[in-house]
């Protein structure tokens, strides 16, 4: 995959919750058309970084910027409008709305706004593509877990974001579903989308990521291609402990 210029710049960010330092002075860049994996053991600060980028939390210090625009001082809705879309670690659909309305929620207010007929067509196309086309006027609450995850992805894509954040989007899927999920993300990658994904599934990391940033106890301990970082001594140590 050819990657372009730097799109998102994470510069020395730190996040403290009271006395706990969840993210400690972390920096990395995300280039255009790149899939960046954010990996590390549980509690190492990956999801916190996602929350900092999307504006769910405010950074304690450091900056996050998209090209020349500083994101880290903006509220979440403005970050979304600037072109950052996300899925949530624990899937969050809008249960009282229909499936298609869920998708239109992603395009009505976000980065590339659409409303009315245009938004409707786009949502239909997205749902067809993600395999939810048949039931689009049903209530979203009726969907199975994997379909809820698909719906969340459709919602994130509807705003045509410049950066897509997938927070453990593949977690909790069975092996068949997992393969479908990996194929989906790999299609997005081929389209040249810029994606940051937090993931535990090693197969997914190997096949999807151009580059990985490895976190441990809030600090960045390695960065490189999946093959490089997964053979790195410190990374193995972080995952498996001593011995």
């Amino acid at each position: 995959m050819t990657t372009g210029r730097t799109l998102l710049k994470v510069n020395n960010i730190t996040k403290r919750f009271g006395g706990l330092v969840a993210v400690d002075n972390v920096s990395f860049d995300v280039k255009e058309h790149e899939v960046l994996g954010l990996i590390g053991p549980n509690g190492s600060g990956k999801t916190t970084i996602m929350n900092l980028i999307s504006g769910a939390f405010k950074v304690s210090s450091g900056t996050i910027s998209m090209q020349s625009r500083r994101l880290s001082s903006l509220p979440a809705h403005q970050i979304s409008r600037a072109g950052v879309a996300r899925t949530f670690q624990l899937v969050r659909i809008l249960p009282s709305l229909t499936i298609i309305e869920n998708v239109m929620a992603g395009s009505g207010f976000g980065h590339r706004r659409q409303w009315g007929r245009e938004a409707c067509h786009q949502a239909e196309a997205l749902l067809e593509r993600l395999g939810l086309g048949a039931q689009m006027h049903d209530p979203a609450a009726s969907l199975t877990y994997i379909d809820q995850k698909r719906l969340e992805l459709a919602r994130a894509l509807a705003g045509e974001p410049r950066v897509l954040l997938l927070d453990e989007w593949l977690a909790g899927l069975n092996p068949t579903e997992l393969q479908i999920g990996i194929d989906l993300v790999s299609q997005l990658r081929k389209e040249g989308r810029t994606i940051i994904l937090v993931e535990h599934v090693m197969d997914a990391i190997r096949s999807l990521c151009d580059r990985c940033v490895v976190m441990n106890s809030g600090e960045k301990i390695a960065e490189g291609t999946p093959a490089q970082v997964l053979s790195d001594k410190e990374v193995i140590h972080a995952y498996l402990g001593d011995d």
Binding site: F17, G18, A56, F57, K58
Partner: protein, 287 residues
């Protein structure tokens, strides 16, 4: 100085009531808008026992508290527990419990009005006494020390007993508490009942120095809520300071400006809290 002393004494009872409400919201997760009616029930019991049988409010306390405990336990068990069960999330539980406790509150006001529709006027220990160079009524002083004693016992119980620890565990995280073998339903029900009993005790105490009537409960609910929010949910130290601020500001406004403006003063404080410290006096901004 008079204002400071009276305000300080009033704050004792306020802090106690807020502590009860804090338990109900923090542990049982019920936003109890019928809290004020429990206060008024206590006041009504004290008034009735005193005027009909010349029973001292200090004795009524021992009768009213267990009765209120049982009553509130039944309310939780039969009215609120079903709501906790059916709620899909905290938001829905909040809406449901607010509406249900409104219903309970109105029903209680209706019943109390039919029992005694006038002011609960009686005179108990209304002798002047000198404290720190200013004159206050004896009843205020007695109420303050009882509130203080109960609050202290409660604090020690919460922090230094096994039962108290399980209550605090449920407050922090009900799901984890369940995992370590705490019966969350039981703890929630008992805590709710305890909170109600505390409100009733507060009502008995307040009635010795403030004249209440059947429909005034909502004002006390407001004040208790303001204290809880100002102090930070679950923060006992914060609640005490908040009660002090509210007690003194209220007494100050009532003495210096107009007694009709105490609620306005409470609102003014509330507004400042919402604008500048919505997380409570000592709370940290979580997000």
């Amino acid at each position: 100085m008079d204002i400071l002393v009276s305000g300080f004494l009033l704050a004792g009872t306020y802090a106690l009531i807020a502590m009860g409400l804090n338990l109900q919201y923090g542990v049982a997760r019920i936003m109890n808008l019928a809290n004020g009616e429990m206060i008024v029930l206590g006041a009504l019991a004290a008034f009735w026992a005193f005027t009909s049988y010349q029973i001292s409010p200090l004795l009524t306390l021992f009768l009213a508290a267990p009765l209120s405990f049982i009553g509130n336990w039944l309310i939780y068990k039969f009215l609120l527990r079903p709501l906790v069960k059916r709620a899909k999330n905290q938001g829905q539980l909040e809406v449901d419990s607010i509406l249900a406790t409104f219903g309970i509150s109105f029903a209680l006001v209706g019943i109390m009005v039919s029992i005694h529709g006038e002011y609960f006027t009686y005179s108990f220990l209304a002798n002047p006494i000198e404290v720190l160079g200013s004159t206050v009524a004896e009843n205020r002083l007695v109420a303050f020390f009882i509130a203080l004693a109960i609050g202290l016992v409660l604090y020690l119980w919460l922090n230094h007993t096994r039962a108290g620890t399980s209550v605090r565990a449920v407050a922090v995280n009900a799901d984890s508490a369940r995992l370590v073998g705490i019966n969350v339903d039981k703890v929630s029900a008992l805590t709710f009942a305890l909170g109600g009993a505390i409100a009733t005790v507060g009502g008995v105490l307040i009635s010795t120095f403030i004249t209440l009537d059947a429909s005034i409960g909502v004002i006390f609910t407001m004040k208790a809520l303001i204290i809880v929010i100002m102090g930070g949910v679950g923060d006992i130290r914060g609640a005490i300071i908040a009660a002090l601020i509210l007690g003194i500001v209220e007494t100050g406004v009532a003495t210096l400006v107009d007694p009709g403006l105490t609620l306005v003063a409470a609102y003014f404080i509330f507004l400042l809290v919402l604008l500048f410290r919505p997380q409570g006096l000592f709370g940290r901004r979580s997000t």
